[in-house]
Amino acid sequence: MTAPLLSVRDLHVTFGLDEGSVRAVDGVSFDVLPGQVVGIVGESGCGKSVTMRSILQLVDEPGRIKQGEILYRMSGPNGQGETVVDLTKLAKRGPQMRAIRGAEIALIPQEPMAAFSPVHTVGDQIIEAIQLHHRQWRPDGSGLSRAEAREIVVELFRDVGISMPDQRVDAYSWQLSGGLRQRAMIAMALSCKPRLLIADEPTTAIDVTTQAQVLALLRELQRKYGTAIIFITHDLGVIAQMANSVVVMYLGRVAEQGPVDAIFHAPKHPYTRALLRSIPSIVGETQVALPTIAGTLPHPFNRPSGCPYHPRCDERKGPECAARVPSLQPVDQGQSVSCFLHHDSSDTQ
C-alpha cells in the first residue's frame, strides 16, 4: 500500500471563548494518498475549515490544537529522500512552516476576498510567492528574475483559463469578476507547484457553468502534475465528480470515510444515508416531500453526550449511543465508520 502524503491523527482543536470552549474539531482522523482527491463534506460549522487551517497552522485566535498529529511526508532537498514531520510540532511562524506553506501545501481559502491584498495587483502577489519559492521552479537553486516570474504567472493564468492573461496579471483582485478571481486564486495556489492542494469550497461562490470549467481545470491539473487535492464542499454532486475518497464530518468528528463509490452506493453511517436522501435529484420525482433529518444541528456549546449524532439518528441502536462515543473503525474495504451499528468500539472522552 502507498504511504499517505498526509495523515491527520485524532486532531482536536478548541476555541476558548468567554461563553465557554467550543470543540470545533473533536478527534478527526483521515489520510491523503499522493495524487489522490479527498472530498470532505459536512454541514456548516462541522469543522471542515478549522481542520484545514490546522494543517497549515493558520487557525484563528483563540483556536488551539489541543491534541493529535498531522503527519506530512516532506520531499527532501532536491527531491531526494523523504522525511515525515508532525506539522503540529512546528513553530507557526518558523522557517519550516513557511517553507511548507505554498511550496508543499497550498490553500485556496474559503473567503475569496481574503486571498489577495487589495493594494497590490494580483500578478505582483503571485510573482512574489514564486520568487520566494524559486526552488520549486529552479531546483538547482538559481533565482528567478521578476520578468521570468511574471512569464510564469502569465502561463499559469492561461492554464487556468483566464483570457487576456498578460493584461489580467496587472489587475487588482477587486477588478476581477467572481469567476476570474477564483481562477486567479487557483493560479496563486498552483504557483509554487504544491504536492498537496487544499481547496476550501472553491466553487461555492461561482455559477454552475463556471464551476464546471473550474472543476475540469482542477481535474486536469491533478492529472498533469499528480497534485493531491483535499476538496471541501457541501455539494454532493461536486464530491461525486471530483473525489476518489470521501470524508463525511459531523460536529467536529468523522462520521464515515471511504471510497467515493462506497459512500454514494453503500453508505454505512445513518448520517451519510440521511444526507444523501435529503438532496433533490435532477432525475427523481418532483414536488414530493424530501426525506429530512429530524431536529437541528446542536449549538457548539451544547454538544450531545455519546455519539454526537444520537439526538437526530433515525437508526439509533440503543442506550450505548447516548453513553459512549463511537470511534472510527474500519468495517469494509477502505471504509471506516463511527457507529455502533457496525462495531462496538468507543473513544474515551
Binding site: T209, I239, F264, A274, I282, T286, L290, P291
Partner: protein, 343 residues
C-alpha cells in the same frame, strides 16, 4: 400530473410584458450617464394562480431585478406588470404610484435569501412577524399575538418562541421566521428570491417541504428564484431560464428538463454535477464567460458561446417564440436543434 398541479385551466395571476430595467452607468464629476446596465431586457411571462414558476439563471442575469420590479422595490424602465387582484380587477403594478401600491402590499410578499439580513435583530419574533400586520392596519395587540402564534405554528415553530430574538435561532429556523413574516398578510403571490440557497442540504430539504406544504394548504402562488437547477426542478410546475437580462426559455418543468430547446438551457443542465460517481463526468460544453449586461453581444446574446451559432445569430436578435403550446424559446433554430438531455 395531478389535478392540483394542472395549471392550464388556471388564470394568470401575474402577467409580465416586455419588462425592462436599465440602470444608468455614470462617470465623471457631473455623474454623466455613459451607458446602461440592461439588468432586465425585454422579459415577458405569466404566473398562473396556484403554481410555482421557477426562475433560474447564472449570477447577474437579472433574476433579483425582475423580482424587485414586481415588488416595486425598483421602478421598471418600461413594460407592464399586470396583477389580478382578489376582486379580479387587473392592475399594472409598473404604473401605480407609491400610495396606490400600498393596499396591494398585503397581496404580494417576498422571502429573501439571507434569513439573517431580512430580520431585524433588535426585534423579537413577535415584532418581526407581526410588523406587516401592523402596517396593514391590525393595531390590536391581542389580535396580532394570536395571528403570530398561528403563523409560527404554521411554519413549524413553537409559539412560545415569540418573545425571543432572531439570533437565538439557526439558519433554517430563521428562514422559517422569514416565511411566517411573508405569510402574515395572507398574500396571494409570494416572490421567493433564493430562499434556500444559504442553507445546508438537510435544512434546505426541510424548508422546501414546508414551502410545498404551505402552497398546498393555502393555495399560494410562488415565483421561486434560484440558481440551483435540482432545487428548481423539484419545486416548480414550470421553469423560466434567463440569460443576460433576457428570458431565453420557459416550459413545464418535465418538458424543459427532458427536451430543452435553447442551447443555453441544455448547456446549463449539463453543467450540473450529478451526485452519483458512476455517472461519468460530462464534457464541459460551455466555454468563456457570461457577457456583461452593460455591453451585451450583438444579435443573439448567447452567440459568442453557442456551438450552433451562425452568421445570422451575430446580426439578428431572436424573438421569444412559442414553437409548441406553452413552450417559449428565444432561438432562431429552436425547431431544428436536437438538445435532448440524458434526463
Amino acid at each position: 400530473m395531478t389535478a392540483s398541479h394542472s395549471v392550464d385551466t388556471k388564470q394568470p395571476l401575474l402577467q409580465i410584458r416586455d419588462l425592462r430595467k436599465f440602470f444608468p452607468i455614470t462617470a465623471g464629476v457631473f455623474n454623466k450617464t455613459v451607458g446602461h446596465v440592461r439588468a432586465v431586457d425585454d422579459v415577458s411571462f405569466d404566473v398562473f394562480e396556484g403554481e410555482t414558476l421557477g426562475l433560474v439563471g447564472e449570477s447577474g442575469c437579472g433574476k433579483t431585478t425582475t423580482s424587485r420590479c414586481i415588488l416595486r422595490a425598483v421602478d421598471p424602465t418600461s413594460g407592464q406588470i399586470l396583477f389580478r387582484r382578489k376582486n379580479d380587477e387587473i392592475v399594472d403594478l409598473a404604473k401605480l404610484t407609491r400610495e396606490e401600491l400600498q393596499p396591494l402590499r398585503a397581496e404580494i410578499q417576498m422571502i429573501f435569501q439571507d434569513p439573517f439580513g431580512s430580520l431585524n435583530p433588535r426585534m423579537t419574533l413577535f415584532d418581526n412577524v407581526g410588523e406587516p400586520l401592523l402596517v396593514n392596519g391590525m393595531t390590536n395587540r391581542a389580535e396580532r399575538t394570536d395571528r403570530v402564534a398561528e403563523l409560527l405554528k404554521l411554519v413549524g415553530l413553537r409559539p412560545e418562541f415569540m418573545h425571543r430574538f432572531p439570533h437565538a435561532f439557526s439558519g433554517g429556523q430563521r428562514q422559517r421566521i422569514g416565511i411566517a413574516r411573508a405569510l402574515s398578510t395572507n398574500p396571494r403571490l409570494v416572490v421567493a428570491d433564493e430562499p434556500v440557497s444559504a442553507l445546508d442540504v438537510s435544512v434546505q430539504a426541510q424548508v422546501l417541504n414546508l414551502l410545498l406544504e404551505l402552497q398546498k394548504r393555502l393555495g399560494l402562488t410562488f415565483l421561486f428564484v434560484a440558481h440551483d437547477l435540482s432545487v428548481v426542478r423539484h419545486i416548480s410546475d414550470r421553469v423560466a431560464v434567463m440569460y443576460v437580462g433576457q428570458l431565453v426559455e420557459l416550459a413545464p418543468t418535465k418538458t424543459l428538463f427532458s427536451r430543452p430547446r435553447h442551447p443555453y438551457t441544455s448547456a446549463l443542465m449539463r453543467a450540473v454535477p450529478v451526485p452519483d460517481p458512476r455517472i461519468p463526468v460530462g464534457e464541459v460544453t460551455l466555454k468563456g464567460e457570461v457577457p456583461s449586461p452593460a455591453n451585451p453581444p450583438s444579435g443573439c446574446y448567447f452567440h459568442p458561446r453557442c456551438r450552433f451559432a451562425t452568421e445570422r445569430c451575430k446580426v439578428e436578435a431572436p424573438a421569444l417564440r412559442e414553437p409548441s403550446p406553452g413552450h417559449f424559446v428565444r432561438c432562431h433554430f429552436a425547431d431544428e436543434l436536437d438538445l435532448t438531455t440524458a434526463f
